[in-house]
Amino acid sequence: MTATLIWILVALVAIGLYLSWTAGRLDRLHARIDATRAALDAQLLRRASVAQELATAGVLDPAASIVLYEAAHEARQAEEEHREIAESELSQALRAVFAEAQQVEGVREARGGEEAVRELAEAVRRVPMARRFHNDAVRAARALRRHRKVRWFRLAGHAPFPMAFEMDDEAPAALVERV
């Protein structure tokens, strides 16, 4: 009788430890999502700032300046639910403006242009990187949260179901081309 009781107790403690460990995993994943999301936000903001700076610097023709300024402004001001669309539109605007290598060269030749092009090239390279890392964290968390043990014991608590950040982040070819 006592032996059975002890065994049940041992089993309960083991289950408890396992669930606690799983909750720890989930907690770590949520922290990772927060960190990667913050990093993505930082990169997106940086990209929009550099684009806006370029648009107002007078190194582009007026039409290109307006297109770029408009898109960069929209991306910075967008509400959360329109963010993905606004950022995608900024990607498209950047691709349209820097479709040709001559345009990039033109900006480079202007005063301080070298620096601006370098910064923009860095930003358009890092946005897809940060987004990939974020969505990777989201996928890992989702996989774990879908598991029975997590659903039955409500290990995720009140944390919102993680959402991937979907956008068009293809960089302008002329900017990332390295020869």
Binding site: G24, R32, A137, A140, R178
Partner: protein, 387 residues
Amino acid sequence: MRIGIVCPYSWDVPGGVQFHIRDLAEYFVRQGHEVSVLAPADDDTPLPPYVVSAGRAVPVPYNGSVARLNFGFLSAARVRRWLHDGAFDVIHIHEPASPSLGLLACWSASGPIVATFHTSNPRSRAMIAAYSILQAALEKISARIAVSEYARRTLVEHLGGDAVVIPNGVDVDFFAKAEPKPEWQGGTIGFIGRIDEPRKGLPVLMRALPRILAARPETRLLVAGRGDEEEAVASLPAELRSRVEFLGMVSDEEKARLLRSVDLYVAPNTGGESFGIILVEALSAGAPVLASDLDAFAQVLDQGAAGELFANEDADALAVAAVRLLGDPARREELRERGSAHVRRFDWSTVGADIMSVYETVTAGAAAVAADDRATGLRARLGLARD
């Protein structure tokens, strides 16, 4: 930035991953970062100042061959100690899925972790069985890097998730500025790789050689790499054997000079390649490249634009292409030029900057790396820790 790099394979055994880590570490040291590499090594091996030994690797049968791995209580303790002493801003683990230091480091660290996946192995049974154990460790990785689009695809299929592709780096100028050696010039074909490893493809080249020599009798084949030389030429008719010269193991300098000297570099590998660093080195040295059409090779050669491809394991196709290229100096010159331009994207200056971007992306706003203290974590979860 304080960077900790974990190497899964013995530092005293030469290999692609080890060389990659050595070059990466030296690049970052030159850039003024603080780098520490944790690698398995014998106690008496001389190590560069930035390498910390994790003890001897133990040979264990794993995944169909004998692998030298580090695991167990002692290794885990050393990993923790290294993490604790290093106080790194980021740690970069290579091959985190192999049951060695990489996995141990993943297991016992918390904070920004970057991981590079080098191999593109077919899914192993051990991996499937260990999936849930692996997953708990691998999900700590904040950023994954795959060395090629091919390696990325395997990674996504096996473990899910995604990765950014950053190729392996090469010091392009080291190869581009090497001095050609006159005795290796003039109708020469180069091959570098283990002679006794069939996947490196020397047997395919040996089957093609009689046809190449029939069309161009003055051709010589220069083979650099260790293995049984007698056995390698056994399939060749006796009178042709003098056209093959074995150079044995060559130093990095000799390798660069060899690649600078040859008229054609042939990479007849039949499989098991996830990247193909040797092709990048050949392109850097300005050698016209003829390679089998493995996924990884086609990608390095820009789908045939930077070097020619032939159908894998097809000795006849190899012979035809080699004869055509050896007889066409204009085409070789064209390949040299395209290769030299294409290869710039694999230079350490580009690759190192990309890897640094990954570090900066994951460390932005994150705490530094620490040993993951499970005891405290558990107590905290049970409400016993003082907050």
